[in-house]
Amino acid sequence: MLKRILALIRKEFISIWKDPRSRMLIVAPPLLQLLIFAHAATMEIRNIDMAVLDRSQTLQSRDLISEFQHSKWFRTIVLVDNENQVAQLVRTRKVQLALSINTDFAKKLMQNKPTSVQVILDGRQTNTASIANGYVASIVSQYEAEHFPQRMKNTPRINLEIRNWFNPNLIFLWYTVISLVTILATSIGLVLTALSIAREREMGTFDQLIVSPLSSFEILMGKTVPPLIISLVLASMMGVFANIFFKVPFIGSLPLYYFSMIIYLLSILGVGLLISSICKTQQQAILGAFTFQMPAILLSGYISPVEDMPVVFQHLTLLNPVRFFLLIMKGICLKNMAPQYVFENLVPLAIIAVLSLSAASWMFKRNLD
């Protein structure tokens, strides 16, 4: 039995590995994508271009503007003369926001009376706009604190002391890189398995495999082990890459990391093989893999947190392996999460793996035309 399985595994390796183009398309992209997307997929907003309509034209208003010039978030500041220019710049997206200072700005400040500045934001991209608005608010309140310190003397105040555990400086790159490693590993595992049976079906070689003395279990082993090894190696390469080039810390236990990674990849390969065993053509298989992968990533907590979703979706995410593994990855890499929390999230993954793999092997012989 072992000999037969080994022969099948060898054959599978050869069929993935023999074509230099397919070899290149499997190995190179994950690392390249990690490199490119890690820097692109950030919610930090930088290089903001803004327009300023300074109707006050005083020392105070120029002081406020120079606070913006010295901040790291803003790239260019365009001074304009009237509201039409503001509207034009915002409408054509030449600037992301505009600041408008009233004529009585300095006068009110000197009289110690409250005044306001108007901020116009481009709502066509609300997430960028609200973050930019937050930057403006912090710059303005800093200006106020610096220039009018006497106002706050002897008044009750609250000082919020903030500590960010696991990532003291809130480096966004750590979050992105860990999530990307998970997503790219998912995508490798799915692509390797989703096409494997469908391709053989299309070529007719799968029928030959079925009439051979191999049992369903042996075929399953032959179809699972090679993609498992390839995706494990690629995931390790990405992990090393993340640690060395992106300086993402790894403080957890390495054996636990690999153990969880194997369980996770098995669940993904199971889903991929199940899709492949249901589909009749490669086109169906690749589109089927997509139909699984897109929602799995969008509803994993990567883009917005699971607890923020409607309850129906929260229940649905219990079927989503990506959701559990993202938690484990962040837990092990950044938090040194206690094993019981890791296992709590590993159990659903193991269940998904067992169910999908056995369903796939059951489908092998069922789906003969």
Partner: protein, 369 residues
């Protein structure tokens, strides 16, 4: 002309007989729209937070009430700090607010009182939300609902922020139309990439070459049917967005369909180029995924703003057709037709499309190897 018609009819039979092309044209867009509508939120997300209260005074009770009545926070009050810290590590909490025992005493004396906030830095985005929500609640409480409010001078400079084109600050208004760029990429690029590769794999392309068909007929015979499928699917998505999900549409349908057609033409060029170069469904789908789909998702400006990316990646994004499409879509939906945005983006799309068409024409070989 008759030959071309026959080729197109043949292609339509293939489309209508394979359920996967129907799934990708109608089910997939619907699924994506539902997920983006209900599962993805880029604005104000709800998060769970832990609280530990060491100050039993009446004032602090009102502060805790402020936290409880905030609709973006689900607070849990803990007595046991160990359990609370474990829950933060186990990703059950996104932040922890600790109010020390001298909190109200210090405020009574007109001093600065400390509040400690610990966030889960492994979720950078949520940590930022935890910080902003906590700051806002503390300020709001101190300045307008606590007994200290009379002692506090009003803020001097208030921000009057306005979100143009999107007063409700609803990210769905730009994410839903933007998600059409993903489905259109899937149809335009992935589906067409698979289709030609399949013909080469099965040998039907060779059979076609032995007939009197000309090169332009083969190319158009593929462009036209999938173009029509794409436009039908596009109309379906637009209908769903505007009528079912009530996304405001302020532009002109004519312009919308104009630049969508241009985008589809370009995306299909990518797909056809990939398949006529690779001639194998496995490698073609890999290349479509890596070279087209993932960049379209990450680098198009749909979720992550392009201006914040490092300069080399901004350059890279300029050869990605979805970038221009997303810019047009968001603008057309939310602010009406802005010629200064539509025209340059359409010129880029057209140039890319024509280059790709020429490349496809060049690469479609009339000779066998």
């Amino acid at each position: 002309m008759r030959i071309l018609k026959a080729l197109i009819i043949k292609e339509f039979y293939q489309i209508s007989r394979d359920p996967s092309s129907i799934i990708i044209a109608f089910i997939m867009p619907l699924m994506l729209l539902v997920i983006y509508m209900y599962g993805v939120n880029l604005d104000t997300v709800r998060i769970t937070m832990g609280m530990k209260i060491d100050d039993p005074s009446q004032q602090v009770v009102t502060l805790v009430d402020s936290f409880k009545s905030n609709k973006f926070i689900t607070p849990f009050v803990y007595d046991n700090s160990k359990k609370m810290y474990d829950d933060l590590t186990g990703s059950k909490l996104r932040g922890i607010v600790t109010i020390p025992n001298d909190f109200s005493k210090k405020l009574d004396r007109g001093e600065v009182a400390n509040v400690l906030l610990i966030t889960d830095g492994s979720e950078v985005n949520l940590a930022n939300y935890a910080q902003n929500y906590t700051k806002a609640i503390l300020n709001q409480w101190l300045n307008s609902s606590s007994k200290y409010q009379r002692k506090i001078p009003p803020t001097l400079i208030n921000l009057d922020s306005r979100y143009w084109y999107n007063q409700d600050i609803n990210s769905h208004y730009f994410v839903l139309p933007g998600s059409m760029s993903i489905t259109m990429t899937l149809i335009g690029m992935l589906l067409t990439a698979l289709v030609i590769a399949r013909e080469w794999e099965r040998g039907t392309m060779e059979a076609l070459l032995t007939t009197k068909v000309t090169r332009i007929q083969i190319v158009l015979g593929k462009y036209i049917p999938y173009f029509i499928l794409g436009m039908i699917s596009m109309s379906f998505s637009v209908f769903m967005c505007i009528v079912v999900f009530q996304v405001p549409f302020r532009g002109s349908l004519l312009v919308l369909f104009g630049f969508s057609a241009l985008f589809l033409f370009t995306a299909m060029g990518q797909g056809l180029l990939i398949s006529s170069v690779l001639k194998n469904q496995f490698t073609a789908s890999q290349a479509a995924l890596v070279g087209g789909f993932l960049p379209a998702l990450m680098l198009s400006g749909l979720v992550f703003p392009i201006t914040s990316m490092p300069i080399p990646i901004q350059w890279l994004s300029s050869v990605i057709p979805s970038r221009y499409f997303v810019a047009c879509l968001q603008s057309e939906f939310m602010s009406g037709t802005v010629p200064e945005i539509i025209i340059p983006n359409c010129i880029f799309l057209a140039v890319l499309g024509v280059i790709l068409f020429a490349a496809v024409y060049e690469k479609t070989q009339m000779r066998l190897e």
